[in-house]
Each structure stands twice: as C-alpha cells, then as structure tokens.
C-alpha cells in the first residue's frame, strides 16, 4: 500500500491506460507543458509526446467533437474540459452528438470517449467556475456519469471509464485534489454502475456523491458521538445508478437523506428521492430529506458561498429532523 493524492490518482490512471493502449490519447486546454489547470496531467507530455498529449485552442465544442470523430475511427480519447461550467459551449457535441450517435445509427458505432472535468464550490470561484452540473448530463440518455469521492475510487473508476466503450462524463472535485488515499501497489479497476457503502449504520441512510461523501462521513462521525449511526452510500457512478445498493440500505435504516452539492431543482438528490419514493415507499418511516445548495448562482465572497452551499451542520440537521 502507498498513499497518493486525488490529483496523482488522475495522472496515474491516465499514464497506466496510455501505456496499456496506444489508442488512448489526451486533448484539452493547457494540458501539455502547463500540465493542466489543476495539474492533473503533469509529466505526461514528456512521457508520451505531443501527438498523444494534445493542447487545444480554447474551443470546447471542437474538443468534444474531435474526441467523438476520432473515437468513431477507433481511437480512445480522454478529453478534458477545464471546468464543468464550460460544458455549455460543448453541449451540442456532448448531448446531441456524442451521447446519441450509437442510437441514431442503429447501434453501429462504438463511442469510447471519456470527458474529464471538475466542478464544485469551496474556492470562491463564483457562478461560472463552481457549479455542480451533473444533472445536465444525467438527463441525457446515452451518457455515463462518474463522480469519485476519493483518490482510491478515482483511480479505479477513471481506468474503467477509459476502457468503457461508451461516453463517460468523469467529474472530479476541485477541493479533493489534495486529499489522499491508500492504494494498493498492484493494478485495480472499479466497475462503473456499482455503488460503495462508505460507512455502515443502522439509523439512517445518507446517499451522497463526490465531496459530499467526505462531508457526510464527517457529519456521521459527529452524529455517532450523539448516538446516531449513519450509513453512507456513495453511488460513485450516477448513471447508470446502482439503485439496488441504495434501496437495500434504506431497507435496513428506513430513513433517507440525500446530499448533493448542486442546486436542488430537478437535481440528482431529487432523482434519488423519486426512485426511493417509487420503489421503496414501504421501506420508509420518515419523509426523505434533501440537502443541497440553495437555488442561487454560486456567490463569490467566502461567507456567501458558505451560506448557500452544503455543510456538515446542514447534513446533521437533516438527519436529526427524521431520526430520534
């Protein structure tokens, strides 16, 4: 075992997959000499050369369209969108093209496109650099959506995403890059579509994704001191969603809190709540609680940003509302 950061997990996964398969190449803004805005591609240009680590103009639509076109001809691109907020520029290429070509063509296409990006609040990045836009992609049939909450998961999930023959939106979190995990020395992959129970507990199920897993685990520790045992479920892959693991956990605790950093309306938290209400209504002993950011643009000032986003205290309050 050894300890690596979430950032290093990205670099290691990319390096290992590029070594393993010469069809894998990277494209994105400032990913070559500069090593990426969040330093996730440092050293890869030197190791693999400029044909496979391709700096692009600031052209998000072209980055994704180029990835798609090359994938249709047998390449396995890993495209980087510097911020998930920039997906708006590329949304036609993501939602109308990449997600749908296989279906529109009657199944006769493989689309092994991995789109890496990062999102989330916590660094005063304001309304155009701090969003949690996973719901945009979840709404589009044909996309897989992966959001790792720690370095260990990230490495195994990113390697699996690159090997997947479908478009995968892989959303990292800007506040997790410096966090560390123990990882094994040998290679490992984590399957897409499989959730992970991060903490066992009998009193309430907390479904949380990305950095919200870390906040939920911290909240769970504090609640344990008060005698409340939370079970924390990390879906890891939001689409396709491992509903079974979530429903099994709710079957055990009979209570559900969903924690998601995005705006609340039609978000991932709403989707999980709807699924459990439809398929697990009889399992529930209390109303489902959602803990999300408020329905505002993300503000700049640290005090305001903290006010509208999720905190351990907000998670604890939601749990206490239905437990005890």
């Amino acid at each position: 075992m050894r300890k690596i950061t979430y950032r290093e997990a990205v670099t290691e996964a990319l390096r290992e997959e590029m070594k393993r398969d010469e069809r894998v190449y990277l494209l994105g803004e400032d990913i070559a000499e500069f090593g990426g805005s969040y330093k996730t591609t440092v050293g890869l240009l030197q190791e693999f050369g400029k044909e496979r680590v391709r700096n692009t103009p600031i052209s998000e639509a072209a980055i994704i369209g180029c990835a798609l076109g090359s994938a249709l001809l047998g390449m396995r691109p890993v495209a980087e969108l510097m911020y998930v907020d920039f997906a708006g520029i590329a949304m036609d290429q993501i939602a109308n093209q990449t997600a749908k070509v296989k279906y529109m063509f009657g199944g006769k296409a493989k689309v092994p496109v991995t789109i890496r990006t990062q999102g989330g609040t916590g660094r005063s990045s304001a309304a155009q650099h701090a969003q949690s836009l996973e719901a945009w992609f979840l709404h589009v049939p044909g996309l897989k959506v992966v959001m790792p909450s720690n370095a260990y998961d990230l490495k195994g999930l990113l390697k699996a995403s690159i090997r997947d023959d479908n478009p995968v939106i892989f959303i990292e979190h800007k506040l997790l890059y410096a966090t560390t995990s123990e990882i094994p020395d040998e290679e490992y992959l984590l399957p897409l579509g499989k959730a992970d129970v991060k903490r066992q507990g009998k009193d309430v199920t907390i479904v949380a994704n990305s950095r919200m897993v870390q906040l939920s685990l911290a909240a769970a520790d504090r609640l344990a001191a008060e005698g409340i045992e939370c079970e924390v479920v990390d879906p890891m892959t939001l689409a396709p969603l491992d509903e079974e693991t979530i429903l099994n956990s709710v079957g055990k605790t009979n209570k559900l809190v969903v924690v998601n950093e995005a705006a609340p309306v039609c978000g991932f938290a709403s989707e999980v709540a709807a699924i459990v209400a439809e398929k697990g209504f009889d399992l529930l002993d209390a109303p489902i609680q959602r803990v999300t950011s408020m329905h505002t643009p993300i503000p700049f000032a640290p005090k305001l940003e903290k006010y509208v986003t999720v905190s351990e205290e907000k998670i604890m309050a939601a749990v206490k509302k239905i437990v005890g």
């Binding site: 520029i89 036609d92 493989k110």
Partner: protein
C-alpha cells in the same frame, strides 16, 4: 487525380442521377404521406456530392448534413436500406431509429448525416486527427452549408484542423439560403471561401452546378490533404431546386430566381457537354437512367415490404454492453 475517362464520367453521371431519382422519389412518397417526419432533399446540388465522391474510396470518410441523402448515395450507400430508413422500417440503416437526418454507414466511411447545423464540423476534424495519428493517407471530407459557416462549431472545428494540419477537406455547399434566410442577410462576406483567410488555409470557390469544376478543384484539394499539407476550405456555389424541406412554401424567393438556376441543372449541363464533346452518347446515359429507375423502384418496394421495428428496439443500442 484520376483522369476523367469515359468510365469515370459514366460513374459520375450514375452518382448524380441516382441522387436525383432517389430524391424525386422520396419527395413524392413524402407528399403522399408514406414517409414520416420531415425531408430535406438535395435536388439541384448533385454535382457537388458526385464530383467530390469520385475522388474517395470506402477507406475515406465524409461527414454530412441534414440534407444528407445525396452524400450517402454518392458515397455508395445502399439505396434499399436508405429508403427503408426513410420509411422508419426495421431493415433501414438505423433500424428506423434515426430517419432521414441520421443515416450512417461507418464501413463505407459515412460518419452520418447530422440534424444540427454545423454539428458535423468538429466531428470531421476528429476523424482527420484519427487518420493522421493512424499514419494513413486517407482523408475526411466535411460537408456543410452557408448557414453552418456562421456557427461556432464551424470556426472551432476548422481552426483546430488548421492548427493541427489535419487531412480534412471542408466543402461548403453554398445553396444561397440558410433555411429561408438569404445569404445577403446572414453573412457579410462575399464568398464563404473568403473565411479561409481567418485560418490561414487555402479557400477556393467552385461552380457547384458544374461537376467538371467540382471534380477538378476537389481533386486538387484532396491530393493536398492526402499529402499531409493540411485542410482546405472549398465553396461550391449551388442551389436547391426545392425548398428547405419538402412542402416548403418558399415565400422567401421568386419563381423567376428558381427558374434561372434550373437553366444550369447540373445533370443536363453534364449530358450536353459529354455528348457535344463526343465522350459519351445519349444511349449510354439513357441506359444508366433506366437502370437507376429500376434500382430505386426496387428500393421502394423493399422499404414497403419491410416490417416496422418491434417496440423493444426503442430500448436497445443506447449503450455498448
């Protein structure tokens, strides 16, 4: 570039007439209510697809547009599977899941029609990148219209192909209208090809009604791209004889304007020239017409006789398992 000998002339003619009769037949069936959805036909623009495709093999790629039947037919797509797709039948190219605007045949290098104007441009750039990374001398030809040349995807896609020197030939089919909006009111440049200057790549205009001009200029461009000299922007000045879609009231242009362009029908111009120059005789060309009519009748019959897709098909092919 291959010399324009008699065999190649007949092949080009065969492509143009196949497109024309396919489209006339589809439009007729659409008006009779036998084809659902909407239909954008390529009648009048045949010289562009035929002149370009005469240079390509199955190993070369094209990206196409919402007005894509002509590209697919000229690239060699199966008429029966195309007609079945227009009818929404299971035997169609996309098993009835794509329709007119999504016909693709990756084995023939057809990367798909596209329902989004400009959407195919970055995809063609990506195909060009793959061809370059794979170390081939194959090319991708990207078709788009004058309307698409105003989209961000066009600028992003052509710019990326230019900075990476990719083997992509961008062919603008300037048919004078973006849907109902005439060029003079949607762009200020005199020629779409002038926009090549923005990328520091060659920009060349062609007479899109004259297949000889298209053949010559695209041949030079494709040879350049195969030689690794990077992308080129070509502009074929052409005209759609029907409206934007079948049933378009066309209240934005005059009958006189349409009739003026029809005097330069690319198929009639071709026939006149090759017969006058004694390269072919009318009987050669008439025989091709007759054979194509038979082929298209058979394609329509195939489409009619084919089953509708089972509803379960709607749930398949979203992901590769």
């Amino acid at each position: 570039m291959k010399p324009l000998d008699k065999a190649l002339l007949l092949e080009i003619y065969r492509k143009m007439v196949s497109v024309r009769i396919f489209e006339e037949t589809a439009a007729d069936l659409f008006l009779k209510g036998q084809i659902p959805g909407f239909l954008h036909v390529y009648i009048g623009e045949e010289a562009v697809a035929a002149g370009v495709m005469a240079h390509l093999t199955d190993q070369d790629y094209i990206s196409s547009t919402h007005r894509g039947h002509g590209h697919a037919v000229a690239k060699g797509a199966r008429l029966d599977m195309m007609m079945a797709e227009l009818h929404g039948k299971k035997t169609g190219y996309c098993h009835g899941k794509g329709g007119s605007m999504h016909i693709a045949d990756l084995d023939l290098g057809i990367l798909g029609a596209n329902g989004i104007v400009g959407g195919g441009v970055p995809i063609a750039t990506g195909a060009g990148l793959a061809l370059k990374l794979q170390g081939t001398d194959r090319v991708c030809v990207c078709f788009f219209g004058d309307g698409a040349s105003n989209t961000g995807a066009f600028y992003e896609g052509v710019n990326l192909a230019s900075v990476w020197d990719l083997p992509v030939v961008f062919v603008c089919e300037n048919n004078q209208y973006a849907e109902s909006t005439p060029r003079a009111t949607h762009q200020r440049v005199k020629n779409v090809s002038d926009r090549a200057a923005a990328f520091n790549i060659p920009g060349i205009g062609m007479d899109g009604m004259d297949v000889f001009d298209v053949y010559q200029k695209t041949g030079e461009a494709i040879d350049q791209a195969r030689a690794g000299k990077g992308p080129i922007l070509l502009e074929a000045r052409t005209y759609r004889f029907l409206g934007h879609f079948v049933g378009d009231p066309q209240n934005y242009r005059t009958k006189e304007e349409v009739e003026e362009w029809k005097k330069r029908d690319p198929i009639q111009m071709f026939r006149k020239r090759v017969i006058e120059e004694k390269q072919c005789v009318a009987a050669d060309l008439d025989a091709i017409d007759a054979q194509i009519k038979k082929d298209i009748d058979a394609a329509v019959e195939f489409a009619r006789q084919s089953p509708e897709p089972e509803v379960e098909l709607a749930l398949q092919d979203i992901f590769t398992e």
